[in-house]
Amino acid sequence: MQKIRVGVFICHCGSNIASVVNVPQVVEYSKGLPNVVYAQENLYTCSADGLRSIKDKIEEYNLNRVVVASCTPRTHEPLFRDTCEEAGLNKYLFEFVNIREQCSWVHMNIKEQATKKAKDLVKMGVVKASFLEPQEEVKVPVEPASLVIGGGIAGMTAALNLANQGFDVHLVEKEGALGGLVRRLYRLFPTNEDAEELIRPIIERVRNHKEIEIHMPAIVKDVSGYIGSFDVTVEEGNSERRFKVGTIVVATGAQELKPYHGYYGYGAMFNVLTQLELEERLRRGINHVENVVMITCVGARIPERSYCSVFCCVTAIKNAILLKENTPTAKIYVLYRELMAYGAEFENYYRKAMEVGVRFIRCGLERPPQIIGNGKAAGVKVYDELFGEEVKLPSDMVVLTTPLVPYLENEQISRMLKVPLSEDKFFLEAHVKLRPVEFSTEGIYVCGSARWPADIAECISQAYAASSKAAIPMRKGFATVEPITSFVNESICVGCGNCALVCPFNAIEVQSQNGKRVAKVTAVKCKGCGGCVAACPSGAMQQKGFTDQQVMGMIDALVGRGIFNAQLRT
């Protein structure tokens, strides 16, 4: 049996650690820990010098475990692991000890205690490292095919981007036509170009692309599997189609909120409509309308729905300008609480609206506009906050600007794909800043209004981003699974199945083997949460990299028990 030879590298991190923790003392302490055959300090372990020192010492001292005590594994763990691998040491025989974010930076004025704590943390790290086993990354093949759910502007852009790179794309659209919301629009801000003329060529390209197979109208009924091989079942009419894909792009978009009956007269008065309904009317062609009152934030930025839907203000501005062009003498009022017109183009657009004579009246949440009329909205009363008085505006048409809201199907899709929804029930990305177009679940990406209300430019950008990310594993041909997966000691497993029940990824199955029931883990599906381990009373289930022996070893070392008892110094 090979003797464990641990090398310990304590980082100064410039003065981030060294100004609080007595690094040389911790190095000396480390040398006295069992299994440690080498310990040194580094100014910056992540620098070229630092990394080289690790590689050199692995070779010189024949180290078979490496401990680095520095910042947080969330920054440099992959780097140090790769360094070990370059020196010929299995990259999973490396342990990271956090003595910066969780020690020196938070105990700045208590240096002695911080140093003592750093010693304890290093001691725990050395024990953990001693119990680590070499692991092989699991490589899974990736099918060079993608499922794109949703045939709107985001979905089509993603589909084209993938198909143009040579990947097969299955595009599933639940309606009878491609184009999504854009199909229902009249003109687009801020250029006022024709929506149909923008979307039609894109639809044509999608329809004619030989790499894109369109399923329409159809819904995704079931998805199982994992990155590289998702098994997809699509329900098209009366029949079912099954196929395999490597990645999935969620581009299901969102829908316009329909106000409830009576909200600002909607449904009760025939001339009260939403912006989208107005667009449809404009497409068909309308007569002159003399008095128009538009209200923004209808059903948005209220206690029940607190978010801003980003571009509805600009939509109102757009339609206000169009109506003014339609009827130059018209009196058009936009009643707003705050006006969202981000970016230079939209500010200019807003200014243009004012220049052509659209009037903007600021009102508040406490005193909302009141629609006057019976069966027809004849006028609107509103308290003008800047003017400080109530005004009464005549209206031939009242237009309600409502936000985009998630489709109810999001819940079902979320459960089917095992991806999370935010509190507002839009899809929730892995990280709002660093990973905005993918889910934590590998191989599944998201773009467009499915994730958050997005205008066409945003939809297209995000679709390019999501599909480019999806292309990476498909181009590589394989994906790797971090080997912190769980595994079963079959000789003591009794097949009770508690592990399988708690697994969020259906990675565990209880099977019959030689007349005995036993749990089996599909490593490629396992995401390494460890919930199955805690659910197993007998200890048959363990998790690589987080075994009970490793964790208990850390606790034992801390209290000075076990093999570390006689040899500890504080």
Partner: protein, 147 residues
């Protein structure tokens, strides 16, 4: 109990509470040094045996941190942890162990402040209830110091 420094464990889940702890560090929020973090991937990995062994070994307490319900990186892990921790904590209290010695909290990746707050408050509570003598041999008059 005066002038005793408690020593307790904090189990942090990789995606939320560990990140929250890191954020507390990045924000330089100062805290007492009495806690030691053990990282796990998910709060659902934490098992009662660890908690009881830690107390048996003389550590003054254990804190288990996880993601807020609904936010678990593994979707449902913290729901199972919630149940397991509930029965563990309540049963230990039923046996007579001080409720402050085993604590659970939800700390998200953006809640550096909450991490600092939890650690500071727990340290204070540990100081108030005094060191863990629950499993010392002197209790039963056996005389031999083991922990």
């Amino acid at each position: 109990m005066l002038n005793y420094e408690p020593k307790f464990l904090v189990f942090c889940c990789n995606w939320c509470s560990y990140a929250g702890a890191d954020l507390a560090g990045v924000s330089r929020l100062q805290m007492p040094p009495n806690f030691l973090v053990i990282r796990v991937m998910c709060s659902s990995r934490v098992r009662p045996e660890w908690i009881i062994k830690a107390l048996m070994s003389g550590l003054d307490g254990v804190v288990v941190l996880g993601c807020h319900p609904g936010d678990c990186h593994y979707q449902t892990g913290n729901y199972y942890a919630r149940r397991r921790m509930a029965i563990t904590k309540k049963f230990l209290e039923y046996m007579g162990i001080e409720s402050q010695r085993v604590q659970v909290s939800w700390v998200s990746a953006s809640e550096g402040g909450k991490f600092a707050e939890v650690v500071t408050k727990v340290t204070k509570e540990m100081k108030e209830i005094g060191p863990n003598r629950l499993f010392t041999d002197e209790r039963r008059g056996h005389g031999v110091k083991t922990t």
